[in-house]
Every structure is written in structure tokens, then in C-alpha cells.
């Protein structure tokens, strides 16, 4: 029964690692989020006290603190709106690209696909930094706008919410295109011809044939963009201004600046709860990938 040993070894080695270094850390976030905060190091009290008999020392104050302050709720809402807007624009740009790549002939298709994904390989941080250069007051975009006579004064393009959306759409676009391409690539192009032969115009062909067939790809791509963007920290920090506060920034400051660990943990755990539903949908799609090999 040698293969039993192998199977156990293969299943349980990564299992052990992930429980220890992923599951337990998530549980610790929950634990600290219901701990009583205090001055000191670490800045929270134990949840089990043993001095006068056994006592459980937990509180929901950290959650009440977050939900009673619009500073925190507002940042959550800002982040959700940001994630929705960016996902929408990624889809708007990504869909036609993915569609045309998928309908190209096979040689061109592979080249285009590699070209689309290659920028994703270069450094994330530096790609955001590149937008900082482009959007400067004396940056290349302002120079073009002035030369075209669209504006006489340089526009303040950097340090606002639009620059943030720009940066996110740019860096997350390949994550939208890949799954979309994966699904579009599978379906039979003859269907488009058939629908044209049956007298449907382009518009109706798109909404009755192409769009419904690519819904799984749209969901997968949207979740790959939406979920991480809710917690995005670097892009708002580099390109954003003080006009909008986002969840990532608030969490970072709560932990590193205010040193309120239970508060930061409560913020993080609330984030997990908000993202649980999208993550579950993502997992259903993910396990289908493995069954049908659709990526």
C-alpha cells in the first residue's frame, strides 16, 4: 500500500503549511478584533484570563467603534465604488480586446495574448510609478493637451480619484482579459455566422449570442479585479490625493500610525466578511476551472 503513503504525503504537507500559515493567521485577526485594547505591547488584552478563575475577556467595542464612525464606513463605501468603477472600465476595455484576440487566426492569437500578458510580468509598483510620470503637471499628457490647444494651463491630473482609477485599470487589465479570453476562445465562432445568417444584426448578435456565452468569463475576470482592488493600498497612495480615503489606507494607518491593533483587525475582518460572497463565487468558478480546464 505504498501509494497510500504518497497520497497522504502529497495532501497533507501543503495542508499543514496552509493551515499553519494562512488559516491560523486569519483566525488570529478575528481573535484580536474581539480583544480589549489597552496601552502596552502588544496593545490588547488576552481573551482568556486565568487570574481569578477562568474568564473570557472579549468585546465587540472595536466593531462598534468602526461602524459608528463615518470615517471608516465612508472609506469602505469609497473602496467599493472604486472597485466597481475600475472593474467596469477593465471590462469595457478588456472585452473587445479579448474578443478580437480570440477571433484572430491562431498564430496572431498567441502573439497577441503574450503581448497582452507580458506587461503584467513587469513590476507592479513601477507600472504605477510610470503613471506618476505621465500625469505630472509638466508630464507628457499635459504637454500633448497643451500642444493640441485643448487646454492652455497644465491640468492637475495627478493626486485625485481619477488618477487612481486610471492606475488600477491599467495594472489590473490583464487579469480581466485572461479569463475572458479563456471563455471566448472556447466557443464556436460559427455561432456568430449562424446568427447573422438568421438575420440578427450585429447589435442583437452581440446581446443574444456573444454576451450570454461569455458571462462565466466576465464573472471570473470581474472578481479577479474587484476583490483585490477593494483592499488596494499602493495605487491610491501613489496616485491618489486627499479627496477620497480608501479602506486600504485607513487600515494601514489604523495599524501603523494609530497603533490600534484591535481596531485594525476589526477593519480587516470586516473586509473579509464583505468579500466572502465574491470569494465563494470565485471559488466555485475556480474549482470548475480544475474540472473542465477552462483557463
Amino acid at each position: 500500500m505504498k501509494n497510500k503513503f504518497f497520497e497522504k504525503y502529497f495532501v497533507f504537507t501543503p495542508y499543514f503549511w496552509l493551515v499553519l500559515f494562512f488559516f491560523i493567521p486569519l483566525a488570529i485577526i478575528f481573535k484580536i478584533s474581539i480583544s480589549v485594547s489597552e496601552w502596552g505591547m502588544p496593545p490588547y488584552q488576552d481573551i482568556f484570563l486565568f487570574d481569578n478563575g477562568f474568564k473570557i475577556n472579549t468585546t465587540f467595542e472595536n466593531y462598534i467603534y468602526i461602524f459608528s464612525d463615518f470615517y471608516y464606513i465612508g472609506s469602505f463605501i469609497n473602496s467599493l465604488i472604486l472597485a466597481l468603477t475600475s472593474t467596469f472600465f477593465c471590462l469595457l476595455i478588456g472585452f473587445p480586446l479579448a474578443f478580437y484576440i480570440a477571433t484572430s487566426n491562431i498564430r496572431l492569437r498567441n502573439i497577441l495574448l503574450v503581448l497582452v500578458v507580458i506587461p503584467f510580468w513587469s513590476s507592479f509598483l513601477l507600472r504605477v510609478y510610470a503613471w506618476k510620470i505621465i500625469l505630472q503637471n509638466n508630464g507628457i499628457l499635459n504637454v500633448i493637451l497643451i500642444n493640441l490647444g485643448i487646454t492652455s494651463e497644465p491640468l492637475q491630473l495627478l493626486y485625485n480619484q481619477y488618477a487612481v482609477i486610471m492606475g488600477i485599470v491599467y495594472t489590473y487589465l490583464p487579469l480581466m482579459i485572461l479569463p475572458l479570453y479563456g471563455y471566448l476562445n472556447k466557443f464556436n465562432l460559427n455561432l456568430i455566422e449562424a446568427s447573422k445568417d438568421l438575420g440578427l444584426n450585429r447589435f442583437r448578435t452581440f446581446f443574444k449570442v456573444i454576451f450570454p456565452l461569455s458571462i462565466p468569463g466576465i464573472i471570473a475576470g470581474s472578481l479577479l479585479v474587484f476583490i483585490p482592488v477593494v483592499g488596494e493600498f499602493i495605487i491610491p497612495e501613489m496616485l491618489g490625493g486627499s479627496d477620497r480615503l480608501y479602506y486600504g489606507k485607513i487600515l494601514w494607518e489604523e495599524f501603523f500610525v494609530n497603533r490600534n491593533w484591535p481596531g485594525a483587525s476589526a477593519l480587516a475582518f470586516t473586509g473579509i466578511i464583505i468579500l466572502v460572497l465574491p470569494i465563494i463565487i470565485f471559488q466555485i468558478i475556480y474549482s470548475r476551472w480544475s474540472e473542465k480546464n477552462e483557463i
Partner: protein, 264 residues
């Protein structure tokens, strides 16, 4: 004919959008002027300065070391997960297994980083290790979130090729470990290399998780770069960008070579 023109225009605009910022960055790295945005003339001055900057060089070496090690561990564990999910039917608490091995793909890095930091602090309070945070704690965190990326590549490859090959080898008298090492492993080898490269780049590129789990003497390259460009522009970072972009683009091309090679 008309649709072909529209198609070409859309693809061209899309690619222009993706590559334009990278080209701008490389272009400005050759600017002589210390003020990044004012063009003064072509020069390699900042490349020269970059190689004399000990802080950046040191951070680069630390990053490469952590990335190579964590990619290797993540690849070993990721291959095991990919194999388990496709070929092993009895996995206890399978939905937990899928949850643990796929959630790091999408979970915001900030939440991941915070959970790792609090975990290391709690562990230190409990048993005294790790005594301080640094390269080891970054390494462990990077392995944890790179596993998922390797697993998904291996999984795709394993579902791709026919299980019958393995069964045929078994019928011909190979035992389980022989099948594994002589049949399965060589077939998925290109995907293993692809997975390693992906994990390597992700670790090399990570800023958020590393910022949480770093400690004295463990400033990785993204941490140093971020501290330089958070508030402004830096000509040295421009030069570094150009070099890193090209290096990573080459890794990306190699990745595609391995990931596509044995696909139909």
C-alpha cells in the same frame, strides 16, 4: 473588411495603452537632468549612480534571495496541491482545502500581510520564535501566497493530459512512485518551471506583504523603491525601472515558452 479595420484599431489602441507607460519610463531613464520631467539630453548618468547606490544593490540581493527561496518552496507545495486536487479523490475537508489553496489568489494583500504579522507576533509571545522579524518571516509569507499561483498552473496541466498514460504505465508494471517520477513529473515539468517563474516574479514584486512582515536588515527592493517614489520622482528609480522591466519581460517570455510548449 470594415470590421477588420475596427478590429485592428481596437487591438492597436489596447496594446498602445499597455505599453506606452513602460516606454515613457524607459525614455526618461536616459534623461541627464536631475529634475526628472525636464529633458536635458541623453545620458547614462543615472544608471551609473544606480550601480553605486549601495542601499538599492543590497535590497536587490535580499529580494532575489527571498524570491528564489520562496518560489522553490511554493513550487514544491503548489505541485502537491495541484496533484492532489486532480488525481487524489479522498481529501479530508476538501472544501477547506480548496479555500486555503485558492483564496490567496484574490484576498487583498493588506489583509494577508496584517494576518501574517499578527501571527508572527502571537507566535513570538507564545513560544519565543521568530525572535525578530526579517527575511525569514517575509519568506514564509511569500511562500504562503505564491502556493496558490503554482497550484492553479499545475492543476490546469494535469487535467490537460490523459490519466490513461499513468494507468498504462501502472499496467506495465511500474509502481506508484515510478509512475510519478518517470511519467507524471516529466510531463508536468514545463508547468513546474512556469510556476516557479511566476512565483519568483510575484515574490520579487511584492511590497505590501513584505512591508508588514519585514524587520531590521530586511529591506526588500520594492520597500526601498516605494520609500523613494512615494512622494515624488527619482531619476535613479527610473534607471532601475528600465533594467527591471527588461529583465522581467524576458522572464515573462521564458514563462510563456514553458507554459505553452506542451499544450495542444
Amino acid at each position: 473588411m470594415k470590421s477588420n479595420i475596427i478590429k485592428s484599431i481596437i487591438v492597436f489602441l489596447g496594446l498602445f495603452f499597455l505599453y506606452f507607460p513602460i516606454l515613457v519610463l524607459i525614455f526618461y531613464s536616459f534623461n541627464e537632468n536631475k529634475r526628472v520631467m525636464v529633458w536635458k539630453g541623453f545620458s547614462l548618468r543615472w544608471y551609473n549612480e544606480l550601480f553605486k547606490n549601495e542601499q538599492i544593490i543590497e535590497a536587490f540581493i535580499i529580494s532575489i534571495k527571498i524570491a528564489a527561496l520562496s518560489a522553490t518552496f511554493a513550487t514544491i507545495l503548489g505541485v502537491m496541491i495541484g496533484y492532489s486536487l486532480v488525481r487524489i479523490s479522498k481529501i479530508p475537508f476538501k472544501s477547506l482545502y480548496i479555500f486555503l489553496s485558492s483564496t490567496p489568489l484574490v484576498l487583498p494583500e493588506l489583509i494577508l500581510g496584517l494576518s501574517m504579522l499578527l501571527f508572527f507576533i502571537s507566535l513570538n509571545n507564545l513560544v519565543g520564535i521568530p525572535s525578530s522579524r526579517g527575511q525569514l518571516t517575509i519568506f514564509i509569507s511569500h511562500v504562503t501566497f505564491c502556493i496558490a499561483f503554482v497550484a492553479i498552473i499545475i492543476q490546469a496541466r494535469l487535467t490537460d493530459f490523459n490519466k490513461n498514460i499513468e494507468e498504462a504505465a501502472m499496467d506495465l508494471g511500474y509502481n506508484y512512485s515510478e509512475v510519478l517520477y518517470k511519467i507524471t513529473l516529466p510531463i508536468i515539468l514545463p508547468s513546474i518551471i512556469a510556476g516557479w517563474l511566476l512565483a519568483f516574479t510575484i515574490s520579487l514584486d511584492d511590497l505590501v506583504v513584505a512591508s508588514f512582515t519585514t524587520g531590521p536588515g530586511a529591506n526588500t527592493l520594492p520597500i526601498v523603491v516605494f520609500s523613494k517614489v512615494r512622494l515624488g520622482l527619482s531619476p535613479e528609480v527610473n534607471a532601475l525601472s528600465a533594467i527591471l522591466m527588461l529583465a522581467l519581460l524576458i522572464i515573462g517570455i521564458i514563462y510563456f515558452y514553458f507554459n505553452k510548449k506542451f499544450k495542444h
